[in-house]
Amino acid sequence: MIGTALASAMAAFAAGAVFALAWPSGAGARRLSLASAFAGCVAALVLGVDMLDSGISWTWQSQAVLQPLGGVSLRVDPLGAFFVAIVALTGAPASLYALGYLRELDGRLRGRAVHALFNVFLAGMCLVPLADNAATFLFAWEVMALSSYLLVVSDPEQEGAAAAGLWYAVMTHAGFLALLAAFVMLAQNGPLEFPAMRAAAGTLTPAAQSTSVLLTLAAFGSKAGLVPLHVWLPRAHPAAPSHVSALMSGAMVKLGVYGTIRVLFDLMPPLSPWWGGAVLALGVVTALTGVLYSVAETHIKRVLAYSTVENIGLIFVGLGFALLMRAYDSGVLAAMGLVVALLHTLNHAVFKSLLFLAAGAVVHGARASSLEALGGLIKRMPHTAALCLIGVLALAAVPPLNGFTSEWLTFQLLLAGARYTAPSLAIMLPLALAAVALVAGLAAVSAVRFFGIAFLALPRTDGARDAHEAPLTMRAAMAMPALACVVLGLVPTLAVTQLTAVVSDLGLPMGQLDTGLALSLPLIGSRLWPIAIAALMAAAAIAAVLGTRAARGRQVRIDAAWNCGRIAQSPRSEYTAAAFAEPLKRVFTGFYRPTHEVTVEVHPVSPYFVRAITLRADLAPWMEQAIYAPVVRAAQRLSAQASRLHTGSIHLYLALLPAALLVLLLLGRWIR
């Protein structure tokens, strides 16, 4: 059953790519290629769910392809199936969404390329979790990276696209090379097969082990967006078409998480606790950086990109915790850490793809991508606003949506960890808990700011004023993840029971679990019953509605809002996105390092008549200046130095010959 599902998924993606390129009519190509992409995603979902239910792992080898590296070998195990399901869950709505979203590209070559690459991207992402040897993993990984790079740079009108693409390509390739080094080190002298690596992992020398762990974290950290390696994410997402950035944030970034789990938990023996602490700390720092920048950004997709960095940080907090507990071999806590990380991966994949699709609809409808140019869209785009509200609430991790359940479990995790482990370690967990709480609070601020400034109050530009509602297919595409957010929020046990199967397959049994509607994991003292809380809230709300309807005496009058008595209410009096974040910028100036440039334009007649004052406030990207700028400068200087060797004088060139001869002769003599 799984084999046929995988075969049909791959066939669908291949057909999609072929249709996109070969089908005569532009519109037909779009519809057919995206329909087959959708079918592929459904097949992949069937594969994932079926594997998680039945639990029978399925393998397939072939030496015909990639033979020198050991051929292709696929293995569907619960962990891989779960991530294929995530790819499918975000891929299906994205492909349905693209039907309406890319209509204007129909006739153009670029449109066909985008649809074909979209299918290749999906196929690559579905193969990565199923790879069972380094060759297939690296091949699928690079196909995914190349197709997503081409999608990022596919829109020439996007002014930052080329630069974003370059950052993305170079960082992804650096990650790939680190991954290659890690696999080669793990394989030692054996074949590049995961089972062989798993067996040989025990014999790794401590130095080799820590280097390969470092390389793995660098490789998958750069793909997931851990802090020092996250800089491509806020650049690539705004440049890519919205359904692609939904897929990138929803699924591709998660494959970084998958890789970390596969190597650190599956291939490697328990590492020293130091690594667990490092990953936890890295997760906390990433979450804080992500949320702080998402509160201060004004570009609609960059806000969401930074919030992806934040959520990845939270996932790595769970992973770090699991690594830590595994090092102290308290298996149940480690298993719980992994379950929480995987649950948050699923939740984030769902609500982030919803938000990116909504952002795409906003940019598509209001033809503006900065929050400062939007406003009042709720009146022109009510359905998109409602769906975006669900996503925003999930982002802010408030009940009754799915963001809250994984947030609550992360709190419980850190609480349980602090209680059951040695005091020396336990000091770190409260700090982590405090940081995660701060991140949750700031996420709420970012959510309110994102929804409030974009959708509420008065439209700030003409584009926002006559924005048009998204076409039906786009709204239907957004409805799917929105529904998933609500369902996962109300009945989290649906996902948690599957995840315990995944985790126990990785050798971390969690014992049996009561499958009631409430969430109560072992070692956690308290219980969460989300559906009951939702019922309570609904009851209270209905009571309030009935109360107001019964008590309302006279009629409801619609009149101008109170604005200190001024007559005309103009959008200029509204709070802007930058103003909304101003208090937080004051509080966290150390982090933001805001730069204020005030230019006063004076009337030529006399300096006392000021014509215009302009203020340019910006955030100094100090992290990039500190880490990346020196590296780029060094490379350029080195390269300029090297090309200076080419003076063009033949005498220098000729002199190099005897010089080379003498050097090699000396080297020869020295070797003997």
Binding site: A385, L393, G525, W529, I558
Partner: protein, 313 residues
């Protein structure tokens, strides 16, 4: 079955008591400022009046403006259900715990802020921006205070915390308990928008945070929001009382024990309300950018509380 009845009774009690608590604080502040002040039941009369009045809705407002009050009420009521009032029946534990309570409060604050942003006035924007900033900064303090309690009690459910404190009073002696109590009180001030952080009694645009968001609301919506704010204040006071000084709560279902529990909780709330009123007459409002310093104080107190519970373990 009895726990459901008990939970409903506790919820009803809080709902009814809420306006009285606000009325009492206002009355006491007036007296302290040598004014006569309206009596305890003035808020009830105000609610009856505003419920009956017509509503003026801003023309720029959308459907969210109408949804916000209901969500705020719903989230506050759900939070109230979780709080044990006069019986240690752990009725609320099956729904959620302290972290769930915090999240419900944040949900209410978020919709309040969205409701404030919707009409598009400068006041609404300023109020919601400041309210969200303060709410975000109180989160870590509340979380660590909860952690301190949960570490000694073994779980973050409110009923369990009160239960273990009742059964082993020795826990309350250590420094951790007192520090956590102080931290919780400071955080509560910020959460409910009381004086050092926000001035509940004024409509002066520079100093009002909570009031700015509900400026555009009128009639029944205003009543609902005011009532929800009162309920939030009351549930947090009861929470402070029962988590840190739980003695006197009815451990059995007998009528006498319940009545005694009722009286004890009312007394505890009154004491806390008096403290609150005294504080508000003594203290002036902090500038918004000084509030983080206050919260930093409460954060360190809570952190000391949490770490001290390690050493005693």
């Amino acid at each position: 079955m009895t726990t459901v009845v008990l939970a409903a009774a506790e919820l009803l009690f809080l709902a009814i008591l809420a306006p009285a608590v606000v009325g009492y604080v206002r009355w006491l502040k007036a007296r302290l400022q040598s004014r006569r002040g309206a009596d305890l039941f003035q808020p009830y009369r105000e609610f009856r009046k505003t419920f009956a009045k017509g509503m003026v809705i801003a023309d720029t407002a959308s459907w969210l403006f109408h949804l916000a009050p209901y969500v705020v009420v719903a989230s506050t009521v759900a939070a109230a259900v979780l709080v044990p009032v006069f019986s240690a029946s752990q009725a609320g534990d099956q729904f959620g715990d302290l972290f769930a309570l915090m999240a419900l409060l944040i949900l209410g604050t978020m919709f309040l802020a969205l409701g404030g942003l919707d009409p598009g006035t400068a006041f609404g924007g300023m109020g919601s921006s400041r309210e969200m900033t303060v709410a975000a900064l109180t989160e870590p303090t509340l979380a660590i205070a909860v952690l301190a309690l949960a570490l000694t009690a073994g779980s973050s459910s409110l009923g369990v915390i009160t239960g273990t404190l009742l059964t082993t009073p020795a826990n309350a002696i250590g420094p951790g308990h007192a520090l956590a109590f102080a931290a919780f009180l400071i955080a509560m001030l910020a959460e409910t928008g009381r004086l050092p952080v926000d001035n509940p009694a004024t409509h002066l645009e520079l100093t009002m945070i909570h009031e700015a968001m509900i400026l555009e609301y009128s009639g029944p919506y205003l009543a609902l929001l005011e009532w929800a704010a009162a309920l939030k204040l009351t549930l947090l006071l009861t929470l402070a009382a029962n988590l840190f000084v739980p003695w006197g709560m009815a451990t059995s279902v007998g009528a006498a024990a319940l009545a005694f529990g009722l009286v004890v909780v009312v007394a505890k709330i009154a004491v806390l309300a008096t403290l609150l009123a005294l504080l508000e007459t003594r203290v002036a409002k902090l500038r918004l950018f000084r509030v983080p310093e206050l919260l930093a104080v409460s954060f360190t107190l809570a952190l000391l509380a949490a770490t001290s519970s390690f050493f005693t373990r």
